[in-house]
């Protein structure tokens, strides 16, 4: 019988935690949110020897305070779940800072195994780490691994299996040179039990508090950890095991505890780190250029322009094959249905509804794939946090920290995770503002709309027209943030605080897994939301009060569209078909494109013939280039998709705010597209 071992992966952000996790689990993992909140936790499983390992990837954190949601959740997970072993991934190239979390984890009293990652960077810099001394001082096993090269993986899990019942190795050995003299005179004999021993003053208090907790609550697990949290006046620990700490805890000793942990880390570094960095890190040289006061911003804009160039050009290049496939598929489905004698009703539903709606969306997969590949590359290389630094000045003028730019940038991929990423912002006001403007950053679901309409109406300038959407989106986001900042009574503070990790060659496996997840989401969306919406649209457009109609203008859809269309006439969008497409696009923005396929009965909308056909039909309605541009602008800015509305509601927990966001964005979309159409008409007239 196999035994199940639950292993939690904990580490600083950028320590290679996810890469290591992926090295074990590959792409078959389950991404789940914590109950009630949207902090992601990933789970994966594999078998090794007699054990079945269940791995849980926890959010990247620096500390185990209760100040941020990620830290609280990790704490709760370690304290309360049935996790057997904690694997603490430590970035060896930043050992000093990483060990701070390690010491806290060891203090929690669960078995800890340290996975020492990025040893290659350490070696490149001509440094060495004493792998014999380090575990002696920490009291837990230290296993060198390389998440990228996939070395040390078996040894790590072997150690996990062997270490599952041990908290601290009994061979703990410290000299405590000057620190012992300053702090502790071995009165407590704690030096044999714990790696970190605080000053006599603090140890006395920890002992006294431990005693009181025991008196009140019996022999609890992790007693020492709770006692330490009590003298830090940690609210969650105080609420869980309330005691009368009068006479012991006069004020929070948090600062002393942090300082003394770092003192111990200095001691470790002194003993285990040989040849401290002699070579200037490559990162500093690269940063001289990428974060340069004058060059930083132009370089960033250049990189983004390049990303979109790749998305449109290379994406379109690959797209050809997809279209041929769809044409052939559509024809064979039609033939098959005719052969088996399916009625007009079924044939129309399948060919005009489902194949046109869903298939049309699938042909945009290459563009989406390239975009996510580029974003993943930027994220994994370490450049993203530099962008926060480079943009901090501009964002400061909008009353936001440079960090708020990261969710906005991620918004180019998909608004849903981008809004979730705003959680890294500390203050609520910043988050609210960021969440309000992030949907204006044009997400990949809007890409099909731009690709289609810009190619139909703007010929050689298609890419320019599509690129301008991104610029308009950014401009609107900036203006909205600026106006909000001017009107808020409290001037927000500039509180950028972010770590800049070492640059690294992005890991192909990490990137591919990330992109595959996105592609999978896209395909799932095509198979579910877009499928359902296509069927629904087909029904709404083919049925009217008198049953199935042969002329769509008699359908329910047309009736609805005609009621609303006068409102959109000033924006040049006063066609009932456009209204139907826009309304259905709320389910997911790609559906605007699907709707056009279904509305005008075009089987392969993204092909040259499909576009020519649609352009012709639209021209008959007097829908020209300016209308198309106005439509693109409207699609860029109007109501975010259903999934985004859901995530805004979950993050803000306020129905009022969610409704405001929807109305606000609808208003902005109407205003801007009307301006575009009216001003454009003056010039064209």
């Amino acid at each position: 019988m196999k035994k199940v071992l639950q292993v939690g992966f904990v580490g600083n952000p950028n320590c290679g935690k996810t890469t290591l996790f992926n090295a074990y689990t590959g792409a078959n993992l389950k991404v789940a949110n914590w109950p009630g909140v949207t902090v992601e936790k990933k789970e994966g499983a594999f078998k090794y020897h007699d054990y079945k390992f269940k791995l849980v990837d926890l959010p990247g954190i620096y500390s185990l305070t209760s100040y941020t949601m990620e830290e609280r959740l990790t704490r709760e997970f370690i304290m309360n779940s049935d996790v057997d072993v904690i694997v603490n991934i430590v970035d060896a190239s930043s050992l000093e800072r990483n060990l701070y979390l390690t010491l806290q984890l060891i203090e929690m009293g669960k078995p800890v195994v340290v996975a020492l990652n990025m040893m290659d960077i350490v070696e490149e810099r001509g440094m060495e780490i004493d792998l014999h001394r380090l575990p002696e001082m920490l009291g837990v096993p230290v296993i060198p691994v390389s998440a990228r090269k996939k070395t040390g993986l078996d040894i790590l899990m072997h150690t996990v299996a062997h270490h599952k019942d041990k908290y601290i190795d009994p061979n703990l050995e410290h000299h405590h040179g000057k620190y012992t003299k300053e702090y502790s005179k071995h009165r407590h004999e704690h030096h044999e039990e714990y790696p970190v021993v605080y000053s006599d003053l603090l140890e006395d208090k920890i002992d006294e508090v431990s005693e009181r907790i025991r008196e009140n609550h019996g022999n609890i697990d992790n007693l020492r950890w709770y006692a330490i949290k009590h003298i830090e006046m940690d609210e969650m620990a105080q609420a869980k095991y309330p005691i009368d700490s009068n006479g012991i805890v006069h004020n929070s000793y948090e600062e002393e505890i942090i300082n003394q942990k770092y003192d111990f880390i200095e001691e470790i570094i002194e003993e285990v780190l040989v040849n401290k960095a002699k070579k200037a890190a490559v990162t500093d040289k690269v940063d001289k250029v990428l974060t340069n006061s004058y060059l930083g911003l132009p370089i960033f804009l250049g990189i983004m322009a390049f990303v979109f160039f790749l998305t449109f050009q290379i994406g379109d290049f690959i797209k050809g094959g997809f279209e041929g496939g769809l044409d052939a598929f559509s024809n064979s489905v039609f033939n098959l249905l005719t052969v088996i004698g399916a009625g007009d009703f079924v044939t129309s539903l399948v060919v005009d509804g489902i194949v046109a709606g869903v298939g049309g969306i699938l042909t945009f997969l290459p563009n989406i794939f390239i975009l996510f590949l580029a974003l993943a590359y930027l994220e994994d290389s370490g450049y993203m946090s530099r962008v926060a630094y480079v943009m901090d000045g501009i964002m400061g003028k909008l009353g936001l920290s440079g960090r708020a730019f990261i969710p906005m940038l991620l918004g180019f991929g998909c608004t849903v995770p981008a809004i979730m990423a705003s959680r890294s912002l500390e203050n609520m006001q910043d988050r609210r503002k960021t969440i309000l403007v992030t949907p204006f950053m044009s997400c990949s679901a809007r890409l099909p709309i731009y690709v289609l309409f810009s190619q139909m109406f703007f010929g050689k300038n298609a890419m320019l027209a599509a690129y301008s959407m991104y610029l308009i989106g950014i401009a609107v986001a900036i203006i909205v943030a600026y106006v909000m900042n001017k009107n808020s009574e409290k001037s927000t503070q500039n509180t950028l605080l972010i770590e800049l990790p070492e640059y690294k060659a992005p890991n192909l496996r990490t990137i591919l897994i990330y992109v595959w997840e996105k592609v999978k989401e896209y395909l799932t969306k095509a198979g579910t939301t877009i499928f359902a919406a296509s069927v629904l649209i087909w029904f709404v457009l083919n049925f009217g009060p008198g049953g199935m109609v042969s002329d769509m203008s008699q359908s329910y859809g047309a009736m609805l569209g005609k009621t609303v269309s006068p409102l959109l006439a000033p924006a040049g969008l006063g066609m009932w078909q456009v209204v139907v497409a826009l309304i259905s696009g709320i389910a997911a923005k790609e559906i605007v494109v699907s709707s056009f396929s279904v509305l005008f009965g075009i089987a392969n909308i993204n092909s040259v013939e499909g576009m020519a056909g649609l352009t012709q039909v639209l021209a008959d309605y007097g829908f020209g280039a300016l209308n198309a541009y106005s439509l693109m602008v409207f699609c860029l800015l109007y109501i975010p998709c259903a999934a985004t509305i859901g995530v805004i509601q979950r993050e803000m927990r306020s129905a009022k705010w969610t409704v405001f966001t929807i109305l606000f964005q609808l208003g902005v979309a109407w205003l801007v597209s009307t301006l575009v159409y009216q001003i454009g008409s003056l010039f064209l007239a």
Partner: protein
């Protein structure tokens, strides 16, 4: 002296952090404790700075940069 008027490429010693408690705790957890040495690496026109502390690079905005009191090491 604060990080805002320090010289790029020089190393300093932290005297105190004059900020709200939560931000101070976060900085301390990142290793920016009293008496720590930090090296200023870069500063942009908006006043945001990049510095090295305990082997890792941090970027902070103008407000935090101006609240890190230090002396020459």
């Amino acid at each position: 002296m604060t990080l805002l008027n320090a010289t790029i490429g020089y190393t300093y010693m932290v005297n105190s952090l004059e900020l709200d408690k939560v931000t101070v705790r976060r900085l301390e957890a990142l290793g920016l404790t009293r008496g720590t040495k930090i090296k200023l690496l870069n500063r942009n026109r908006g006043g945001s700075v990049i510095f090295m502390v305990r082997g890792s690079r941090l970027a902070v905005g103008k407000k935090i940069a101006d609240s890190i009191q230090m002396r020459e090491a």
